[in-house]
Amino acid sequence: MAFSATLEIVDGEARITLAGELDASVAPAFREKVEAAAAAHVGKLVIVMAELTYMASAGLRGLIFAKQKMGGAVEIVLVGLQEGVRETLEMTGFQHSVTVVDAY
């Protein structure tokens, strides 16, 4: 599946829906959406990852970028991680920096 990242802003929350594979070649597209979400000054960033089949380290870097860009007061919620993506998150220790849920 080709990578896609779509952004919706609803009720002070930004929702980015990811699909396909997030690697170095498409990471800039993800970052663009994060920058747009930050510009909207939302209180929460929800990243729906149910359709994300693979995340390379460039994708994880994008998540760290999101955390920095949104600022400390904004909660970041990751939704519906597939097993491989969840393993990457837990192995690198990033799961403590975000909220991980199965459904939102």
Binding site: R61, I64, Q68, G93
Partner: protein, 295 residues
Amino acid sequence: MDEGAAKREEALLKLERDLQIGRDIQLSFLPKALPEAPGWELAARFEPAREVAGDFYDAFPLNQGRRLGLVIADVCDKGVGAALFMALFRSLIRAFAQQHYSLRWMGEEDADFLSSPVADRRRGIPSTGTSALKNAMALTNNYIITNHGDTSMFATLFFGVLDPAAGVLSYVNGGHCPPWLFNEAGIKRRLTPTGPAVGMVPDVDFAIQQVSFAPGDTLLAFTDGVPEARDPAGAFFTEGRLRSLVTDPPSGSAQALVARIHAALTAHIGSAVQFDDITLLAVRRATDAAAASAP
């Protein structure tokens, strides 16, 4: 050649040149030769990805060879930036570790620790004596976050300090895929993370673990470019395949193991473009018979 084609050609050449610079940086920061220790064999293999990435391995003596530092790491993302950060991570770890060892030897603390009751040992490593390990990781972590935090760069990094005389490896694993300790009976232990990736979380207290090598035991460290290597149809090599290579046939020399894995990876990748760096580091303790007959 028309102007447009000439411009495109120039842009392509510049891109190739940048990639080559990145590759040269990366290669220049890998060890020229692996250190030696009686009764031990080290072997390593590095295959760069098509696009420059940031894997590295390192092996260096500490305290006049009484200890060996062993590192395997994977800097996030691709491009010349990853290669530059690879150089930075590798240098910081080496410099902080070597600096600390030149000031303080961990020998006495080791002996105290290893002669203490097993129950005490199981509670964890005392902070004295192994502080060089912790310091190198913590200082590197805070350096990256403080000085380069705005880049969001991090590295998964495994750093071990081997006492070749005692056969004991003390290590910190910062978010890196676990190295395996195994013998001909199978994998004895997976050296799982003891802290997060380096450069990701400020002020982390990385925990230290220890593992002992019995004669004939081998440690295999690798980066995720190994299990995630893809064939032309996109299928992963997988950890399961790597595991079967490691346990069957039973482990021979570290060099033979690394060569066998590399051959299987090459066959698997085939005509596909190699997407990620492939890095392997193997450390084997000779069997008693082999050690006894060594010159």
